[in-house]
């Protein structure tokens, strides 16, 4: 290594490649993290535009803008892009950026693989988007791609399958990197049971990804084989079983839900203590709760299949197991509130989003308990109630926590402060219109509106109107975020090393903006629970 000079705490002065090569051949975790985050934001906008197309069509009964087959393509691609293009890469990007800084590692463990796992994403998403213009259009079987419907579709489905393969490889490589980094590259003194909750959440998430992405790849490969190679995995005439696809898919799909939720838990567990100026309550029970959610997530998949006609015993098993997940999830919510209790809270934008997360995620969790009761699920399965439920979990859960994280770490990443007033506006705007969009969907589902339909009976008109208006306003509000970020990147106030009074994890111990190379060599740490740094000094080795 041709390192220039060591500054205090092992900071190495900036030596960065310039121009396109810096990004194409990026191996620096901060560069790659930034690319991930920008990519995810672009995909969030694309997926959001698809969502607005859906809401525009559903503003009134009758077919106004899209034919049914195009509508199905829109819902399918909205789901796939948001899950695989926006939320998962955003969390991987944050982990890339912040994990080495939070645990005192010089970089991610496999720098070149890191580059590859990012650069697989753009071609995969290109394949997905290209599928709109091939004959027959994009995949139109819903993001779950249920066989045998997905076996029927045109070549857009093949492009989707290849895209999922590539995305899966990318996620697995990203996850391996996170696991190895956390296990091997923690600075001396950063014990596992003292790690920041964000690191714990990322670690467990990474294990989930490694475990289930191959399952998804297997499921779609079987669809591919049924489509083109004459196999009969999901065709009863050849001895197959259509329901097998659902079992395999949801064995991936349910842990996937937690892949999108656990990092959010981690972020909130960093943000709340900072702005409550009080240590995280029940750190070790948080770690155990997160781990047990990870384990339980493998045992509940068939609650997505209560109306496929399982025997009563299977229904009861999956019902009980699902209800059980409410316990560790409840523990986490109680812990966050106990952290806030008797703290000295201030309400900057990251804290607002974190509180919004807790409130709305609780609603999503409680509607999840309702759905877990198999007998009630018979009425709610496949209805808009489910749509409402998982948007409360994923938009209010994953997305709000991501906004919280970006506002929280923006000063450390860029050296500048975001505009606080715009941030607050962004929060209140998002909170209001999110609820206007998704709360009425509970009513729609209860009243009997199935999901994934382009046109509906007249009694559903009012709530669909409200939801559509809310969706457009919510979408508009995200431009506030974009403006804030773009403006602050150039003109924001210079951020101090420690912009948040209560922040005491490792990333706040280094200069702002974080130098291009950090913690090389790693520092000697003395830490407390949740990554709190008690003391830090040079390790002395050069």
């Amino acid at each position: 290594m041709d390192l220039a000079s060591n500054t205090a705490h092992g900071m190495v002065s900036a030596h960065k490649p310039q121009g396109l090569a810096r990004w194409l051949f990026a191996t620096n975790h901060k560069d790659i993290g930034s690319m991930y985050l920008w990519f995810a934001f672009c995909m969030f906008l694309v997926g959001g535009v698809l969502a607005l197309c859906i809401r525009a069509e559903l503003f009134s009964p009758g077919l106004q803008f899209f034919q049914p087959e195009l509508f199905n393509q829109l819902t399918t691609l909205h789901g796939l892009i948001m899950v695989f293009g926006a939320i998962m890469p955003a969390f991987t990007g944050l982990a890339n950026w912040m994990l080495p800084l939070m645990i005192g590692a010089p970089d991610m463990a496999f720098a070149r693989m890191n580059n590859w796992s990012f650069w697989l994403l753009p071609p995969a998403m290109t394949l997905l988007l290209l599928s709109f213009i091939v004959p027959g259009g994009a995949a139109a079987a819903g993001w779950t791609l249920y066989a045998p419907l997905s076996v029927q579709l045109g070549m857009g489905m093949d492009l989707t399958i290849f895209a999922i393969h590539i995305l899966g490889i990318s996620s697995i490589m990203g996850a391996i990197n996170i696991v190895v980094t956390i296990i091997n590259l923690r600075a001396p003194g950063m014990r596992m049971m003292n790690m920041p909750m964000f690191a714990w959440a990322s670690l467990i998430t990474a294990y989930l990804i490694i475990a289930v992405m191959p399952v998804l790849a297997g499921a779609v490969t079987m669809v591919l084989a049924d489509r083109h190679f004459g196999s009969h995995f999901f065709n009863a005439a050849g001895g197959g079983d259509p329901v097998l696809y659902q079992h395999v898919f949801w064995f991936f799909g349910h842990p996937e839900v937690y892949i999108m939720a656990l990092p959010a838990f981690g972020i909130v567990s960093q943000v709340i203590p900072t702005f409550a100026r009080k240590p995280l309550f029940g750190y070790s029970s948080m770690v155990y709760a997160t781990s047990s959610i990870g384990v339980l997530s493998f045992m509940v998949w068939a609650h997505h299949m209560f109306v496929t006609g399982m025997p009563a015993t299977a229904q009861l098993f999956f019902m009980y197991a699902t209800m059980l997940i409410a316990v560790p999830t409840g523990v986490k919510v109680f812990n966050w509130i106990a952290t806030m209790w008797q703290g000295s809270m201030s309400f900057e934008t990251p804290m607002l989003f974190a509180i919004g997360f807790i409130l709305l995620f609780t609603i999503g969790g409680l509607s999840g308990v309702t759905l877990s009761v198999a007998a009630v699920d018979v009425q709610l399965h496949g209805s808009y109630y489910v749509v409402a439920h998982f948007h409360y979990v994923l938009v209010a859960g994953a997305l709000f926590s991501l906004f919280s994280a970006v506002y929280y770490w923006f000063p450390k990443m860029t050296g500048r402060m975001y505009v606080e007033r715009l941030g607050q506006l962004h929060f209140w705007w998002s909170l209001l219109w999110f609820n206007v969009t998704f709360f009425p969907m509970h009513f729609l589902g209860l009243a009997g509106m199935p999901r994934r339909i382009p046109d509906y009976a007249l009694q559903f008109t009012d709530f669909n109107r409200i939801a559509s208006i809310g969706a457009f306003m919510f979408g508009l509000g995200q431009l506030i975020f974009l403006v804030n970020i773009l403006y602050s990147l150039r003109h924001g106030k210079t951020a101090p090393q420690q912009p948040w009074e209560g922040a005491n994890t490792l990333e706040w111990q280094i200069p702002t903006p974080a130098p291009y190379h950090s913690f090389n060599p790693p520092p000697q740490l003395e830490t407390a629970e949740n990554g709190v740094v008690l003391s830090m000094r040079d390790s002395g080795q050069a």
């Binding site: 009863a236 005439a237 001895g239 025997p311």
Partner: protein, 180 residues
């Protein structure tokens, strides 16, 4: 320089070996699958059951309703129906029933029937001694045939089950005189 050359050659050999192994595995998949099916009995569609052994403490004979049905799958130009769609039977006794099948097309068609049971757990207790589902059935154009089915419901049938539905899914066996 020389050592790198050697290393490269070794690597090349390993990679070629890997390619060969992968190709070989793919090439052998079909025969391997066949062997696996033979060993595990995976591909055995439906076989005759043995009569349940008489044990000392058999539950008493009791009445059960047997509902019969058939589902003809896409691609098969047949009509399949039970001669009697509902029977009152008793456990532990031989039951004879009849299905009528008609080939509506005027070409030779081969079909295969697979029994489905409701409730699914009843499947283990219905012992089929004679059934058209044991083999593929070839029908001449327009042919109509009646098939007897002989079965026995095990007396061990759980008490909660007092009605069993037996429905055959009848499939087209492709490659045997299919329409263009």
């Amino acid at each position: 320089m020389d050592s790198r050359r050697v290393a490269n050659t070794v690597l090349l050999r390993k990679l070629l070996l890997a390619v060969l192994l992968m190709f070989g595995f793919a090439w052998l998949l079909v025969p391997l699958y066949r062997v696996l099916c033979e060993v595990s009995g995976l591909n055995r569609v439906v076989a005759a059951d043995a009569l349940p052994e008489a044990t000392a403490s058999q539950p008493p004979v009791r009445p059960v309703t047997l509902q019969l049905d058939a589902m003809v799958q896409p691609g098969l130009p047949w009509q399949v129906r039970p001669v009697q769609s509902r029977l009152q039977v008793k456990t532990g006794q031989l039951i004879q029933l009849e299905y009528e099948m008609r080939n509506n097309s005027e070409r030779q068609v081969v079909g295969q029937a697979i029994p489905r049971y409701l409730p699914a757990e009843a499947a283990a207790y219905v012992k089929k001694l004679e059934c058209f589902c044991f083999r593929q059935q070839a029908f001449r154009p327009g042919e109509v045939r009646r098939f007897p089915v002989v079965l026995l419901i095990d007396r061990q049938l759980p008490a909660a089950i007092d009605s069993i539905t037996l429905a055959y899914s009848v499939f087209d066996v492709p490659g045997q005189g299919r329409a263009p």
